[in-house]
């Protein structure tokens, strides 16, 4: 079993993409500190919000990958009931989780810092809807594409989704702030 094999290269190149995504978000945070980080409770909300996209899409990609390897899902039927069910479930999960996240951040900020900040509830829900409209179909398409090209989507999708999820989330948060 060679150490620097195809898997090593796949994980490494995917991670390189991932760190640049993370750094882009970090730079955006450093630039927009006054707009984002200075909102009371924003640091409570932000990690969970950034992570959620990877969690939901990561599990979706992993389920689809396992299904493809087990041949329960086939590339010939991309609109099968299993896939449709997975997509609907992922959208529902995203809505419920962003709402919970907003409530948690709102209540913690109120309880610990005595600050009432309703934007902490509205912001993640609206930004979550915007971000998932982009992220979930992207996840499905890329998992299929990678499997079709003979790659193991498990090696690539994890880092790609956390990174693209971060970038899409920050974009959605800033867009929602502009809308609000």
């Amino acid at each position: 079993m060679p150490f620097f094999d195809r898997e090593f290269k796949e994980i490494f190149s995917a991670e390189l993409i991932s760190i640049f995504g993370g750094l882009l978000v970090g730079i955006a945070l450093a630039i927009y500190t006054d707009k984002l980080l200075l909102i009371p409770g924003m640091l409570i909300l932000l990690p969970g919000f950034l992570e959620m996209r990877g969690n939901i899409s990561g599990s979706l990609a992993s389920r689809i990958s396992s299904g493809l390897f087990l041949k329960v899902i086939t590339l010939k039927k991309p609109r099968s009931r299993i896939i449709q069910g997975n997509l609907i479930a992922s959208f529902l999960l995203a809505f419920i989780v962003t709402l919970s996240l907003g409530m948690i951040a709102f209540l913690l900020t109120l309880a610990l810092f005595h600050v009432t900040e309703p934007v902490l509830i509205i912001l993640p829900v609206l930004a979550g809807i915007i971000a998932n409209i982009i992220q979930i179909p992207l996840t499905l398409a890329l998992t299929f594409y990678l499997f079709k090209r003979g790659h193991d989507p498990n090696n690539i999708m994890g880092p790609f989704l956390t990174s693209s999820g971060d970038v899409i989330s920050i974009f959605a948060l800033l867009l929602t702030l502009v809308i609000l």
């Binding site: 898997e7 945070l29 409770g41 932000l46 990958s65 610990l112 971060d166």
Partner: protein, 231 residues
């Protein structure tokens, strides 16, 4: 063939929690793997997929959000000090991503190994698992070095004061943080993965959210602690 299709239709109608003799019968007679039958039973109809995914994921995702929020709370408490250290503000999402994504890669590949029956109780001596862990550790060290260097470089370009001591502190914080949490997440993924799999649930739905949220919580608690300690 018609008989097999009929049997598979019957499996699709089984309740998720039900351990039916039909699964064993189809497995032995028609040579369909247990894992495939597990997927047919778990995610067979659209309605069943939605309810299964929601049921298995919702609790863990809300728990993950709560854990991440607690991590954020640690940084919220030292917000002014934290946002004044620009390299750490730039590094925070990248560190969270790195730790979380290495946890996700390990969890996803560990789940696949479990589903394919390539792991047993004697996992400590499994060469595939050992190799995967070492690969993740080596890649993590290289990417941590690159990320920290870039964050420091960007800070330097934005005229942030960088002394040698400050640079070393940032490197030390990054390496301690990443290598410690990757080792911890691998252990959590293995023990929790076996536990969930034994309960006939899909480890994919559980391991990824829990490893990423522990990564977030731990990362931010450690960062908050190290900021207080070093700065």
């Amino acid at each position: 063939m018609r008989k097999l299709t009929h049997l598979l239709q019957k499996i699709r109608k089984l309740k998720r929690s039900q351990h039916h003799h039909l699964l064993h019968q189809v497995h032995t007679k028609h040579k369909i793997s247990r894992r495939t039958l597990f997927y047919i039973k778990e995610y067979s109809s659209e309605q069943k997929v939605i309810s299964t995914v929601l049921k298995e994921s919702i609790k863990i995702l809300i728990l993950a959000s709560l854990i991440s929020s607690l991590g954020g709370l640690a940084l919220e408490n030292i917000k002014q000090a934290f946002i004044s250290i620009i390299p750490l503000v730039i590094l925070l999402p990248a560190l969270n991503d790195m730790i979380g994504s290495y946890g996700s890669i390990f969890s996803a590949k560990f789940s696949t190994l479990l589903h394919e029956g390539r792991l047993n109780r004697n996992w400590q001596h499994n060469p595939e698992l050992k190799k995967l862990f070492l690969q993740v550790l080596v890649i993590a060290s290289i990417t941590t070095f690159i990320t920290t260097s870039i964050a420091l470089g960007i800070s330097w370009f934005t005229k942030h004061q960088l002394s040698l001591g400050f640079i070393l502190k940032i490197f030390l914080i990054s390496f301690l943080d990443v290598l410690f949490f990757i080792s911890l997440l691998v252990l959590i993924a293995i023990f929790a993965g076996f536990y969930v799999y034994r309960k006939k649930e899909d480890p994919n739905n559980f391991l990824i959210p829990i490893t990423t949220s522990i990564a977030d919580l731990g990362n931010m608690l450690v960062l908050a602690g190290l900021v207080l300690l070093f700065f």
